[in-house]
Amino acid sequence: MKVELHGVTKRFGGQTVLNRITSTIEFPHTLALIGPSGGGKSTFLRLLAGLIAPDAGTITIDGEPIPGESPALRRYRARIGIVFQAFNLFPHLSALDNIRLALTEVHGLSPSMATTRAMDALARFQLADHAHKRPATLSGGQRQRVAIARAIAIQPKFLLFDEPTSSLDPEMTAEVLELLATLRSENRTMILVTHEMGFARHTADLVAFISGGSIEEVDAPERIFGEAKNPTVRNFLARVLRY
């Protein structure tokens, strides 16, 4: 996958969150985004997802610019699987219906095909027994796995994850990371924001460090974690890896 950024700027109110980023990021399967809190990682991911538009600049993915206007942008979003930190399942729908909704309403599958596809996705992640439960009655780890199943079920071009484990306890985190590792081993294309440094180091093909509204460094994980050139990156890693 190849992400090309040209002069990408994003402001919220008076605050410039991403500042004229120009960069070409190319990686075979997995890109990890790391960096300090408030650095702009989520904003960057939401730009890639087509959920917000840049105030200036263009983003091109595999040679195709992210569309600006509404119907084309919606079609673009529909082809991407997105998993946020938490609360992204619909609370009034069962796990099964959460997955079926996009399949029937956006991707035009028949109800029975949608059910089959959704049940397959749930079964893959050992969630078949929970198909008819509402999110409130699932554990945090199960909820996140359903969210991932929902993202997979649409057969996306690529997957975006924003700190998918940060609201989970260690056991559930392990459960979800294991699932992500499986997806990685299937050579799916994905970009994930994470503060699980060990995970980024061992599963990512490429790591981008985002801080203060710019991409400070992009490199292979062994180089970022071993011999980062940029002092900001070194300081950050020294702090988070101390314990």
């Binding site: 529909a78 991407i80 992204n88 619909f90 609370p91 009034h92 909704l101 956006v106 409130a136 929902r150």
Partner: protein, 258 residues
């Protein structure tokens, strides 16, 4: 000492028998007072019984008007709530103006205005039609605000999820916002039904033969005020008390679900 038993605090609730006894004793005391006050006057229940059909038909009409107004005002309330959230400024301002005018003036004044001024101007003589429409229009302004707050209670992360999976704005309303908002609004909707039943009594001023108008007619025919108006009050309570119980039940259910 028995007095402490009558203080019902969350950390030290009154025993169940005390609660039941309280209700029974109070009911008996109130009944005794009423009896004492009224026993002296001669009552005329047999005259009232002859007019029972007037009461019955009025009562049914009150239910009918309230149900029709509930349906109409819910539909209008949804549209008004959407208009209130519209990005198209003239539509939003118009909806706000309507809601503020309706909520700012008494229902009685609205009934008089629309019947004696508007309906009269257009030569509309159907009291039932005008009465139901005025009541619906009145209720829709209140429902619009309830529905709007129900819509706004659906969190931003839900809307972002809906966008992320590629739903259009219309689909987002249909599959994500409304199903969640309706749960939130249902208890208030039940409460609004009780209000409609009570408020419909004001339609008696334009001679619509609903329940209150029925009692007024019986009263003027029999000259027995107490016997006309006590059944009137009871007739309304029979409708409103179960509805407010239902409303509380729905509220609790919603509370448990979320």
């Amino acid at each position: 000492m028995i007095a402490p038993l009558f203080f019902d605090r969350p950390q030290a609730p009154s025993p169940r028998w005390v609660r039941i006894a309280t209700v029974l004793v109070l009911a008996a005391a109130l009944a005794a007072i009423c009896w004492g006050l009224l026993a002296a006057s001669t009552s005329n229940w047999s005259a009232i019984w002859r007019y029972r059909a007037v009461f019955w038909q009025g009562w049914l009409l009150t239910i009918g008007i309230s149900l029709a107004a509930l349906a109409l005002s819910t539909a209008a309330g949804v549209l008004l709530a959407l208009a209130r959230r519209s990005t198209f400024l003239p539509l939003r301002s118009l909806a706000l103006l309507y809601i503020e005018l309706i909520r700012g003036s008494p229902l009685l004044v609205q009934i008089l205005f629309f019947w004696y001024v508007v309906a009269d101007h257009f030569n509309i003589t159907d009291r039932l039609l005008v009465g139901t429409l005025v009541l619906s229009g009145f209720s829709s302004a209140y429902l619009a605000e309830m529905i709007r707050s129900g819509i706004e209670s659906v969190g931003a992360s839900q809307l972002e999820s809906a966008r992320a999976i590629g739903l259009s704005p219309f689909q987002t309303y249909r599959f994500v916002i409304f199903p969640q908002a309706i749960r939130q609004v249902l208890p208030s909707l039940a409460g609004q039904f009780a209000s409609l039943i009570k408020d419909s009594s004001l339609l008696s001023v334009i001679g619509l033969p609903e329940f209150t108008q029925g009692a007024l007619q019986v009263n003027s025919a029999t000259y027995s005020t107490l016997e006309s108006f006590v059944p009137l009050g009871i007739g309304y309570l029979i409708l409103t008390l179960p509805i407010s119980a239902l409303s509380r039940l729905l509220e609790r259910q919603f509370h448990y679900e979320s």
